[in-house]
Amino acid sequence: MGLSETDVAKQIQHMIAFIQQEAAEKVEEIEAKAEEEFNIEKSRLVSQQRVKIIEYYDKKEKQIELQRKIQHSNLANASRLSILKARDDYVQALKEEARKQLTILTQDRSKYQTILANLIAQGLFLLMEKEVTLRCRRNDFHLVQQLTPDIVQRYKQELKQIDIKITVDDKNYIADDSAGGIELYAMGGKIKVSNTIEARLSMIFNQILPEIREKLFGINQNRKYHD
């Protein structure tokens, strides 16, 4: 008959146990694999997104730095401009002060006389014309008329050309509030020499501007050439 009942039962038990063990092992295997794949997938997703996020925020933080630099630069520029403007204001103030003082100075008749005579002479020497019209301030009209003959004399003494006719303009005058001086016209008004005190001031002021700037603002460290 072969195996006894007990033997058969035992065999069956063994086989069942075997089946159960196999199943348990398989489950363990599946669970281990599951954890592994879970971790791989999770870290893949995380690092993928991390890179994007880091890039994004790095860029934005760079923007902030850039803004800061731009602002700094703008402030420096604005500051420089204000200072330059202030400097220019002082230079202009100096010129205006000079103009005021000249106006006062020319009220000293004896000094003004000399200056005016020289201005007229200078103008005449420049023009070297036969017919010249002089224009002055209303108040100086008589003074100019007074001075003219001596000046003409001197002119004739120095130059080979001796023919000259001076007219003092009695219809048009230089502004009363100007500092004085003279305007000379020749060729029916086509040639003009402006030898007013103000014109002289402008010319001289502009020529010595470098000196003025140096005295007022110090030597320029950034300047490379001085001739």
């Binding site: 009942e5 058969v8 069956i12 069942i16 089946i19 159960q20 199943a23 398989k26 489950v27 599946i30 669970e31 694999k33 599951a34 879970f38 971790n39 997938e41 999770k42 870290s43 997703l45 995380v46 997104q49 996020i53 880091i54 925020y57 933080e61 902030i64 803004q67 800061r68 700094h72 500051s79 200072i83 202030a86 002082y90 103030a93 100096l94 000079a98 003082q101 000249l102 100075l105 000094k111 200056i115 020289n118 201005l119 200078q122 005449l124 020497f125 070297m128 003494q157 120095e158 130059l159 080979k160 002289r200 001031l201 001289i204 002021f205 010595i208 005295k215 007022l216 603002f217 110090g218």
Partner: protein, 116 residues
């Protein structure tokens, strides 16, 4: 009789084994799907951190903005003030020079037109 019972038992055990394995597989798939959610959660956390850091920087910069402007203005004012001091101390000397030069008129005839 005995044999058939034994076989039934085996079949039952086999079926049970299959079920356990099938459930394990289902759990595995779910676990892998969970990876996505957990990853998302971690990412959000990280993003939040970075965002906070960035916002802090932004605030700092905003605060500095006004401070920078103020400092610049103060310095500019100081520089402009020092101009005044120099102007006042040099003014008279310069005016003297300008006035003297303006009033010193030297009329000169042209060298070629002079009488020898």
């Amino acid at each position: 009789m005995l044999q058939s019972r034994g076989i039934t038992d085996l079949l039952v055990a086999e079926k049970k084994a299959q079920e356990i394995i099938e459930e394990a597989r289902k759990r595995k798939n779910k676990r892998i799907k969970d990876a996505q959610n957990e990853a998302k959660f971690e990412i959000e956390l990280f993003k939040g951190e970075r965002d906070q850091h960035y916002k802090a920087l932004e605030q700092q910069q905003l605060g500095n903005r006004d401070k920078m402007a103020q400092e610049s203005n103060v310095q500019t004012q100081i520089d402009i003030e020092s101009l005044k001091a120099k102007y006042d101390s040099n003014k008279d000397e310069l005016l003297e020079r300008i006035l003297t030069t303006v009033c010193d008129v030297k009329p000169q005839s042209h060298i070629n037109a002079r009488i020898e």
